[in-house]
């Protein structure tokens, strides 16, 4: 507790502000346009530009706001606890800036309940906020893309066209992940599969077949964190957070700046640098595998191989049991479980492996594990480096 105070004191400052109000009680702008105006004014007040901003705090949908403003945040805070959310945003941002996660954070709030009533023709008694613009409904949904696999299919399509990646190479990831699942008694699917099995499974959204796609299962998990000091007094071997970093690049797939490169290319190196590790130090990669292409992009963006070489990299089965880069030892989202938001399971398996609790699939004495999560449609990447020693 004292540690927190010491760490944050004097480490950050508010350097620009803006607000909007009117004697009429109504503003001309509303929604995102009003938020944008506030950001523009606060940045001008600070003598900074949009290019300086690498952190976004906004209750609700911070990635939608970042996309609208053309920001690719390394720090995202969507904390929404009601009226005090913005004090919390300041607190979190101070911690993030002190920790070097980001340098310039914008915090934004806009609501126009009075003029919303007028805009909402025959609006009755509804007093909720005016629904914001929904660019996905207007600019994506009419084209009938199956979600979420269609979004990942577009990334795979582009990766294949640019780098010559093949369906067989993507299938190898599903095959190796299933080999791990065979060693996990709680995995949804444990029977071995072949590349041919993947390629002959029904095409869902080309070029992704059914077995390129994650499961849909029930699932749940939790974790507890405390200070390193206290952790040492607890019964189980501590698993230390050695590094963590975030990068968001978009919200909708049609806005992804480069379909073949995720924010992992930013969050991965940043988390590794914070942890002071090299790729050779990583004993386990828990790489979010919503689809085979998702995992392949992680391998490239985290720097385990060069951009475009993921296909060739996985061909020899190095991701499976006995391989040189064990990935998703629980059987992954492809074969273990995937309740929709799989990131929790990356952390749980990484911790269990580092503690040596994984039974038949246990790695020999792992010291460093990387949990790399993907949110949205390849939108926001979060990399966490965990280790048995500080």
């Amino acid at each position: 507790m004292a540690l927190t105070t010491r760490t944050l004191r004097g480490r950050s400052a508010i350097v620009g502000v803006a607000d909007a109000a009117s004697p009429t009680g109504e503003l001309d702008r509303h929604g995102r346009a009003l938020e944008a105006a506030m950001v523009r004014e606060a940045l001008a007040d600070a003598g900074l530009t949009l290019d300086d901003v690498d952190g976004v705090a906004a209750g609700g949908n911070p990635t939608g706001l970042a996309e609208y403003l053309g920001i690719r945040p390394r720090y995202v805070d969507g904390t929404m606890v009601g009226g005090s959310s913005y004090e919390l945003h300041v607190e979190h941002a101070a911690a993030a800036i002190a920790a070097g996660l980001c340098e310039v954070v914008i915090g934004v709030y806009a609501a126009t309940p009075r003029s919303d009533r007028r805009r909402r023709s025959g609006g009755g008694g509804f007093r909720g906020p005016m629904p914001g613009p929904n660019p996905m409904l207007e600019w994506e949904l009419p084209y009938g893309m199956r979600m979420p696999m269609g979004a990942y299919a577009l990334a795979a399509s582009r990766h294949m066209a640019v780098y010559g990646t093949t369906s067989e190479q993507l299938a190898q990831i599903a095959v190796d992940t299933r080999r791990w699942a065979a060693l996990n008694p709680r995995a949804r699917y444990r029977d071995p599969i072949t590349i041919d099995d993947v390629l002959s499974s029904p095409m869902q959204a080309s070029p992704l077949h059914l077995l390129d796609c994650c499961l849909v299962t029930d699932g749940a998990g939790a974790f507890v964190m405390t200070s390193a000091e206290r952790a040492r007094d607890l019964p189980k071997r501590p698993v230390y957070v050695l590094g963590a970093a975030t990068c968001g690049t978009h919200s909708m797939i049609s806005e992804m700046p480069d379909l073949t490169t995720t924010g992992g290319a930013v969050s991965g190196p940043a988390a590794f640098a914070m942890a002071g590790i090299e790729h050779a130090d990583v004993d386990l990669l828990m790489g979010y595998d919503s689809f085979t292409i998702t995992a392949l992009l992680h391998l490239e963006d985290l720097g385990f191989c060069a951009k475009g070489e993921g296909g060739a990299f996985v061909e020899d089965g190095k991701l499976g049991p006995g391989g040189s880069l064990p990935m998703n030892t629980n059987g992954g989202g492809l074969s273990y479980t995937h309740p929709g938001q799989y990131g929790m399971f990356l952390l749980v398996e990484a911790v269990r492996q580092l503690r040596g609790e994984c039974g038949e699939r246990q790695l020999p004495d792992p010291k460093v594990a990387v949990a790399h999560g993907s949110g949205g449609v390849l939108s926001t990447m979060g990399t966490v480096v965990l280790g048995t020693e500080v």
Partner: protein, 133 residues
């Protein structure tokens, strides 16, 4: 082909109005003298709010695509297979659309395309793309 009819956001009214005449418009930031997509009240490069609608060439290339083998939102089993694509317009912006007017197997990344129009129930048209030439 059944499609979900897009809502018209306040800002994009001129875009949808122009589709009634089968004209494709793009929002341009007058400060940057550059187009952006999707349409919004401010430029995602400079936050400028002097946005102007300009006619687009209606040409581009397939940037990435995926053939849907089961019906997605708004589509029916009779519609499959159909192609969803990201189209890189000649102006340099990228939009989601469909490639129609050719077999899904004939679509390829890099293929030149030209806008065509899918009628909506209220007189607007939805921009889609067909092989050019």
């Amino acid at each position: 082909m059944s499609v979900i009819e897009p809502p018209v956001s306040e800002f994009s009214q001129p875009f949808w109005d122009a589709t009634r005449e089968q004209q494709l418009l793009l929002p341009w930031c007058t400060a940057c003298d550059a187009p952006h997509w999707y349409p919004r009240e401010v430029c995602p490069s400079c936050l400028g709010d002097e946005i102007e609608w300009r006619a687009a060439t209606g040409t581009g290339v397939v940037h990435a695509y995926s053939v849907q083998h089961l019906p997605g939102p708004g589509r029916t089993p009779e519609d499959v297979p159909y192609t969803v694509a990201l189209i890189e317009l000649t102006e340099g912006v990228r939009m989601m659309s469909n490639v129609v007017g050719c077999a899904p197997d004939d679509v390829a990344v890099g293929m030149p395309v030209r806008v065509r129009w899918q009628p909506l129930s209220d007189g607007r048209n939805l921009p889609q793309f067909s092989p050019a030439g």
